[in-house]
């Protein structure tokens, strides 16, 4: 039932008006008086010894302010990694230094070697062309398995080899898991690639550094999903600037999808150079630069095996994965193939024994880190592909096999160290079957065949873990940060509220949905609430937005702060109403005394807080502003069931998505319109991974897909209308809103549905095809059919 504002209403987004009229404030829209521009000279060689960087000629070019090389950063720290993995022998991962500008060696195409600061960008670029760089090329390390072979060239000469870590999870389960495979009635195995992707938010990254000599204060405007994290990482670990002298602002940000979580060299450079040059320094990434400097995603090569007993119950699962780290460790890179991947390998199933092995590998490629879903899409893809393959091998219905093995009792402790609090996997599957009209599939297939096309149906489930926490646990797992969130709620004298949240909105609509929550709690109009985010000088602390954590963690902090506000306001109201605090009720924006007609309006209470004439000054302070930090006790576990129907043109291999159906359980929902939009976007990225997107390197470490000419972004005519439902709701049991998070689900759940559907289509034509690696581009599908 649609509501008129508040929790559960599809309130229209207030931020849309500025975006639709061209008056948003993105980082590239910020220009500071007197700013200079920086152009980064980047390596066009994947691996080489950097013999010299001669800037003599370039320094005298018109407009040049100063040219920086690696030597200028001798006293500056390494770009830090925020997560340390302990390997299966109890040893810490190998962790290389990551300089702001290359020193000694270049390790991937796109690595910045020198930075030219000049009056204009074109002048900076002109001068960069006059820099003389001498690089002695070394053999490029590209293939992960070859990287681990004896005699491979080393990406980092000071490390013992190219292995970042060899992680076993849960190591204690390994022997029992292997024994279960020995005893299995059937084993299905599959080797697959989870293709490397480039996140490609439509707004390229931008950094503007500014420095106020009079106060020694630095300001960085940056396209970030978490400005406080950048402040901490860059200030404390790279540049040595205390937080009170460093302001980081992430204004309107044009999409992130993970790749704007991380702290990048360009941010540190612009902040550093603004002081060194005593003027603001701006960098705007071109799309071409983005392809070779934004952290990439995925890039796993996996062998997965599923053991079943004679009754088709899953008895054990084991996997071996090679995960590409690229040339350096990006901020959260080590956590992605481990804690964000291994812990999800149970999926929706009560498989009792699971063992996951992950070897993380350095290569001469752009660093790889979290991209929408981060580890969970990789887990879901391999699991749902192997389950589908098992069903086909055993000749059983893929849905029935899944249902038979579903976890049905909650809470459920998996063998991979997490406890699912709630869920109802049969409910989402029921919903999917209802929406999908699978009974009508045979007729639809016949229609396709009459047109000369093959039709396939693919189904899968997924579970994800959102709002990674609690901090003390993730600390044990190697996180070098807390994973709480903070919110300050400031009530103004006339009753309006400002919520300062550490969550960051870069498309998710927090300004609308967060206001809905507070409006609902107090019973006032949403328009009385302003949501502020993205500025470390306004928001006390924040861990930012990623991992579908905003409403579950940031929203919970906001609820806790609002509860404190309400509690204090009730004290004030009880004074004004001359009644016991325990009798005060807040409803529809007014405080009343239970059982009486005595009441006082919200605005009168807030006015009293700031004009405390009639006020219990002896008991409480004036003012009405509260801060809360919320540290969740567990992840949240959204889940769902997806179905995809494809048509394959057997003459060309071209796959078209005919139908895509998603039944999700996100727990309680704040704004159904926004949630649906999040699912649509996730589906497009998942379908993009499955059919179109492929970040490819050649054997020399040259990036083959370095622009939209070769990296296929999903376009409007690649996608269908989606059929999306989220009426199945098992609320989260451990956060105050009962919410789970929805941002990544679509990207996690959709790739296996697409591939399952294509395999189904090809098998319908009698082709002996059990797997095709993503992306299922026409040439690959055609080749698989030959």
């Amino acid at each position: 039932m649609p509501k008129d504002g508040g929790i559960g209403a599809s309130s229209k987004r207030r931020e849309d008006v500025r975006f639709l009229t061209g008056v948003g404030n993105y980082t590239d829209d910020i220009n500071i008086h007197g700013q200079a521009h920086v152009f980064f000279l980047r390596s066009d060689i994947a691996h080489g010894t950097l013999n010299s960087v001669d800037t003599t000629a370039a320094s005298g070019m018109p407009g040049v302010v100063r040219i920086f090389t690696g030597d200028d950063f001798a006293g500056v720290g390494s770009i830090p990694c925020g997560w340390q993995i302990t390997d299966k022998h109890g040893e810490p991962m190998q962790e290389p230094a990551h300089p702001v500008l290359a020193t000694g060696k270049v390790r991937h195409v796109g690595e910045p070697i020198a930075a030219v600061v000049a009056e204009t960008l074109e002048q900076a670029r002109d001068a960069a062309e006059a820099i003389n760089v001498d690089i002695a090329e070394l053999p490029a390390v590209v293939d992960m398995k070859a990287a681990l072979a004896d005699g491979s060239a080393k990406v980092h000469d000071d490390l013992s080899n190219n292995l970042c870590y060899d992680w076993g999870f849960v190591e204690e389960n390994k022997a029992a898991t292997d024994a279960a495979f020995e005893a299995a009635a059937h084993v299905t195995s599959l080797e697959l690639v989870n293709n490397r992707l480039v996140a490609n938010p439509m707004e390229p990254r931008v950094a503007v550094g500014d420095y106020a000599r009079g106060t020694d204060e630095h300001t960085l405007y940056t396209t970030s999903q978490n400005p406080h994290v950048i402040r901490l990482l860059m200030g404390a670990f790279v540049l040595g600037i205390p937080e009170h002298k460093l302001r980081v602002v992430a204004p309107d940000v044009g999409g992130g999808f993970g790749t704007k979580i991380f702290h990048y060299q360009e941010e540190a450079f612009c902040t550093f150079a603004a002081k060194a040059c005593n003027r603001a320094v701006k960098w705007t990434s071109s799309r071409t630069e983005a392809f070779m400097s934004d952290a990439h995603g995925r890039d796993h090569v996996t062998k997965i095996e599923l053991a079943l007993d004679a009754d088709n119950n899953f008895t054990a699962l084991r996997t071996e994965t090679h995960a590409n780290m690229g040339a350096y460790l990006s901020t959260f890179a080590p956590s992605v193939p481990t804690w964000l991947h291994g812990t999800l390998m149970a999926g929706n199933y009560k498989t009792p024994l699971i063992y996951v092995n992950v070897k993380a590998v350095f290569t001469n490629t752009v660093p790889v880190d979290a991209y929408r879903g981060a580890g969970r899409p990789e887990a879901t893809f391999q699991l749902e592909r192997v389950v589908d393959k098992a069903a086909r091998e055993l000749g059983v219905d893929p849905i029935a096999l899944r249902r038979q093995n579903f976890i049905t009792e909650f809470p459920y402790a998996t063998p991979v160290a997490v406890e699912y609090d709630t869920g109802d996997y049969n409910a989402t599957m029921d919903k999917l079957e209802e929406m999908g009209d699978f009974a009508g599939f045979a007729a639809r297939r016949a229609e396709s065949e009459a047109k000369g096309k093959l039709r396939g149906l693919g189904v899968n489930c997924y579970i994800e873990a959102c709002g990674i926490a609690p901090s003390n646990l993730v600390g044990q797992l190697g996180a070098r940060a807390g994973l709480y969130e903070s919110a300050t709620v400031r009530v103004n004298a006339t009753g309006g509220l400002v919520v300062m949240t550490g969550s960051h909105s870069h498309g998710q609509g927090h300004e609308t949905s967060f206001a809905q929550v507070v409006a609902d709690m107090i019973g006032i109009d949403e328009s009385m609430i302003e949501i502020v985010h993205g500025d470390t000088s306004k928001v006390p602390m924040g861990m930012g937005t990623y991992g579908s954590r905003s409403i579950a963690v940031g929203g919970s902090a906001m609820v806790r702060a609002t509860e404190k506000i309400i509690n204090k306001a009730k004290k004030i109201a009880s004074h004004l109403l001359e009644a016991s605090e325990t009798d005060i009720e807040l409803k529809d924006g007014a405080f009343s005394v239970a059982g009486t007609d005595k009441s006082v309006a919200w605005g009168d209470v807030t006015l009293a807080a700031y004009v405390p004439h009639n006020y219990p000054l002896e008991d409480i302070e004036p003012g009405l502003e509260e801060t809360a930090f919320y540290d969740p006790s567990n992840f949240t576990y959204p889940s769902g069931a997806y179905a995809c129907e494809v048509e394959v043109d057997p003459d060309t291999g071209k796959v078209s998505i005919e139908r895509f159906i998603a039944a999700d359980d996100f727990g309680n929902i704040i704004n159904p319109m926004i949630v649906t939009g999040q699912v649509h976007g996730g589906l497009a990225q998942g379908i993009g991974q499955a059919l179109l997107e492929n970040c490819a390197y050649d054997e020399n470490g040259q990036l083959l897909s370095a622009s939209y000419m070769d990296y296929a972004m999903p376009r409007a005519d690649d996608l269908p209308m989606f059929d999306v439902d989220h009426s199945c709701q098992t609320p989260c049991t451990h956060n105050p809103l009962g919410v789970k998070g929805c941002g990544e689900a679509g990207a996690i759940g959709s790739p296996p549905a697409v591939v399952n559907a294509v395999v189904d289509a090809l098998q319908s034509a009698g082709k002996d095809v059990t797997h095709v690696d993503m992306p299922l581009s026409p040439d690959r599908v055609w080749a698989a059919m030959q």
Partner: protein, 261 residues
């Protein structure tokens, strides 16, 4: 981009004069040239825009019944106004995207001769005549390999004349990222025979498939192509498809073009 001077002459003569300057280069719609300049892959001293030349604009019928297109005519205009040659109008309607079609010109496309562009297939497939400020060049003589044409330095395409066939069709199988042709086949049936021109596939740029032309000249039906194939050995092999795959697509798209003509 390196900097350059910009000129916008109003006559062919003035354009030719402007192009005599050292490192001067003609600018059609700029839809390929400007991205190339952004990458600093070219460094003209002067760009001479041809868009201000009225005599190079528009679509008209020639005395011999051919469709004549001014060299600076954009794709959207061809799509809208070349109705006398529907397959050509339809080809123009599917080049690039709408905004690109509003700027890109036929002269610019043919002068560039991108191996994956659509117009070279249409021109070669139609046996068009490329008219320049200096001469008339038959399409068969004009295309000389990837990014290479018969144009001399400073010579510009003022008009392209397409004889109108009895039937024609262009089938484009798009490269999923760039949306250029991975393989595009233009088939045109004239009274004196059938022409088949293929873009996107060959390392030598657009080419005619003689075997298919002979078969279709004898019997203009898709089945006439049964058993005919091209070798993928000299075809483009890249991230989006091997030479073998492209060769296969050539046959598939030719059949489809014949069926749709």
């Amino acid at each position: 981009m390196y900097n350059f001077d910009f000129e916008k002459p109003e006559s062919v003569a003035d354009a030719i004069a402007a192009l005599q300057g050292e490192e001067a280069q003609a600018l059609g719609g700029g839809q390929t040239l400007i991205p190339t300049l952004k990458q600093r892959l070219a460094s003209p001293s002067t760009l001479v825009s041809l868009k201000g030349i009225a005599e190079m604009q528009g679509v008209c019928m020639g005395d011999d019944g051919s469709v004549c297109i001014g060299g600076a005519t954009n794709h959207a205009t061809v799509a809208a106004e070349a109705g006398a040659y529907p397959a050509l109008a339809d080809t123009a309607a599917h080049i690039g995207d709408p905004a690109v079609r509003n700027r890109g010109t036929i002269g610019g496309s043919l002068a560039n001769n991108d191996p994956s562009a659509c117009y070279p297939a249409a021109a070669l497939g139609s046996g068009a005549t490329i008219v320049t400020n200096a001469r008339q060049i038959a399409a068969d003589d004009y295309f000389q390999g990837m990014f290479t044409t018969a144009l001399d330095e400073g010579e510009i395409i003022t008009e392209v004349r397409f004889p109108v066939p009895e039937k024609a069709n262009y089938q484009k199988f798009v490269q999923p990222a760039s949306r250029f042709a991975l393989v595009g086949v233009y088939v045109a049936k004239y009274a004196d025979g059938v022409r088949v021109a293929i873009t996107g596939a060959s390392n030598d740029g657009v080419f005619r498939w003689a075997e298919a032309e002979a078969a279709l000249s004898a019997n203009f039906s898709a089945s006439a192509l049964d058993g005919l194939s091209l070798s993928g050995d000299d075809m483009i092999s890249d991230l989006h498809g091997t030479g073998e795959y492209r060769a296969h697509l050539c046959a598939v798209m030719t059949k489809r073009a014949v069926a749709a003509a």
